[in-house]
């Protein structure tokens, strides 16, 4: 009992009256932050949707030039990482220090795999001259401008997503550091909880990005 009170009072910030208030506030705060992230990505999704509608043929061709198999693989990797993240949160709820560490490491590894595959994909694009800029050239259409638009949006959207993944990886490292020191217990695991929310959000963004960028109109030549 004293241990619980100890954990509580260690972590309780002075603006809060109870640990429950603190936890609820932190969680609510993270949800609001994620809503702002939806609006942030939303602007890019909007631009993409509008241009897709304006240039359906070129965008379809450009989509087809992306490797959907690798994209699907990466999707699976991220989904697994969300699973391991859930397991980490569960371990924290149960106060199992070793399990938290194991699952956080797994999540981090899967996240790094995702980023590695992304880097590979981007390199493919570089080799194929699909990176917007002076050396951009997309075979098969005279509409180079719209083709470049697709890839600009592709890189902007996946780049922004990757940036969020990198930040997520950083957060996981921070969590690992504190988990190793036994900071998380069944009574106080809020940071793991809200980091989990963030990680799932980044995953969900990808779930939208993948079909929108890779899968629509793949049959178009």
């Amino acid at each position: 009992m004293a241990e619980h009170a100890h954990a509580e009072s260690l972590a309780l910030r002075e603006q809060f009256d109870t640990a429950e208030q603190q936890k609820e506030s932190s969680t609510f705060g993270m949800w609001i932050f994620l809503i702002t992230e939806v609006m942030f990505f939303g602007g890019l999704f909007l631009a993409y949707t509008i241009y897709r509608n304006t240039y359906p043929t070129v965008f379809g061709m450009a989509s087809t030039s992306l490797n959907a198999v690798i994209g699907a693989l990466n999707t699976a990797v991220l989904l697994c990482s969300s699973f391991t993240m859930v397991m980490a949160v569960r371990a924290a709820q149960l106060g199992k220090r070793k399990a938290i560490i194991v699952f956080l490491i797994l999540t981090l590894l899967l996240g790094l795999v995702f980023l590695g595959v992304k880097a590979y994909e981007w390199n493919e694009k570089y080799v194929e001259h699909h990176i917007p800029g002076a050396s951009f050239h997309f075979e098969g259409t005279a509409q180079q401008g719209p083709a470049q638009l697709f890839f600009s949006l592709y890189f902007a959207m996946t780049g922004l997503h990757a940036l969020h993944m990198v930040i997520g990886a950083g957060i996981l490292c921070w969590l690992l550091y504190h988990a190793a020191r036994g900071r998380f217990t069944a009574e106080y695991m809020t940071p793991v909880d809200i980091a989990g929310l963030y990680w799932h959000f980044v995953d969900i963004i990808w779930i939208f990005l993948f079909p929108l960028l890779y899968l629509i109109d793949r049959h178009m030549k």
């Binding site: 240039y55 359906p56 043929t57 259409t141 005279a142 509409q143 401008g145 719209p146």
Partner: protein, 334 residues
């Protein structure tokens, strides 16, 4: 010294807009005076007379709240409807409007009349005849604003925008650029000259030396060898352009679009954006090879290949009639 406080009315729209202004001002003055007077009165009548005063709270009535929501809303709906009505009219040029092309660039207005007259920072138009401007920009967004007409329309690169008006009074009216466009935005102005119809015809005939837009377009068409593919009888690799303007076109992706000015412009500058059904995307782009003005000339030429008279075509130079009361007589105003 002239200190105008109200702009001249020189177009068909001006009285409409001014009447709307009067209504708006009347409603505003009413509510402003009401609020000011109420505050003034209450502040004096109920001023604090002793430090220990404690007034009774007055409870809001739902009826009052509804009343002062609904009544203002009703008044604003009149503002909405009235303004929308004017806006609709402004967006529907009459079919017989004379068409003039405007190309904006930093920092000047280039005006092209069908009959060949070219102007810089000036627009001559006849009184009493609807005039439709088809406009585009070569660089940034500008805006064609004539305060005396109460009309304004942004001029955007990469597309055509239109505005129309009928001048109702001869005179010289300010033309301003109303969308910030860089260094000389302030200086990108000029004059609109509304002229009596006969004076306008005389002025217009001075453009004969330039050749009409359509004539210049035909020359450009030949220079660019368009006819190598676009054979008149349709036997070439590309569709015939005869009778194209104004027709519906079936595209390869199934869509049906109208062959208007915007379509023609896009077809010249981004030919593979809309490929005609039954044809291959073979046409090279002429972006960089043809200026916006060149595009306008080609469009006018292509229009001249259509059987029906192109909207707003003026009289050809050979037919300019300087007799008053003949060509150029104004149809009734809207």
């Amino acid at each position: 010294m002239k200190v105008p406080l109200f702009p001249e009315q020189a177009s068909n729209f001006a009285p409409d807009v001014d009447h709307l202004l009067y209504y708006l001002v009347a409603v505003s003055v009413f509510f402003t005076v009401l609020i000011f007077a109420a505050i003034f009165y209450f502040a004096i009548r109920y001023r604090r007379r002793s430090e220990h005063e404690l007034p009774e709270p007055v409870h809001a009535g739902l009826a009052l709240e509804i009343a002062w929501s609904v009544i203002p809303f009703g008044l604003t709906m009149i503002m909405f409807g009235w303004g929308a009505n004017i806006f609709f009219k402004e967006s529907r040029p009459p079919k017989d409007a004379a068409q003039v092309y405007v190309v904006a660039k930093q920092w000047m207005w280039k005006v092209q009349h069908m009959e060949g007259q070219r102007e810089i920072n000036e627009l001559h138009i006849p009184v009493g005849r609807p005039v439709k401007l088809v406009m585009t920009s070569e660089d940034v967004i500008h805006s064609f604003f004539v305060p005396a007409f109460r009309t304004k329309q942004d001029v955007v690169p990469g597309r055509y925008s239109t505005t129309w008006f009928t001048a109702t009074k001869p005179g010289k009216y300010h033309l301003f650029c109303a969308e910030y466009c860089g260094t000389k935005h302030s200086g990108m102005g000029g004059w609109v000259y509304a002229m009596e119809p006969q004076d306008y015809q005389i002025w217009l005939s001075g453009g004969r030396a330039f050749g009409s837009l359509a004539e210049n377009g035909e020359k450009l068409y030949q220079d660019l060898a368009c006819g190598n593919c676009h054979k008149v009888d349709g036997s070439g690799r590309c569709p015939s352009l005869a009778g194209l303007f104004g027709r519906n076109v079936q595209l390869a992706d199934g869509r049906v679009v109208k062959a208007d000015e915007a379509y023609l412009r896009e077809s010249i500058l981004q030919p593979n954006a809309k490929v005609v059904a039954g044809y291959q995307p073979l046409m090279p782009t002429f972006q960089g090879l043809v200026t916006e003005e060149g595009v306008l000339q080609l469009i006018e030429y292509i229009k001249s290949l259509s059987p029906q008279p192109a909207a707003g075509a003026g009289t050809t130079p050979a037919e300019i009639n300087v007799n008053p009361g003949a060509a150029g007589a104004a149809p009734s105003n809207r």
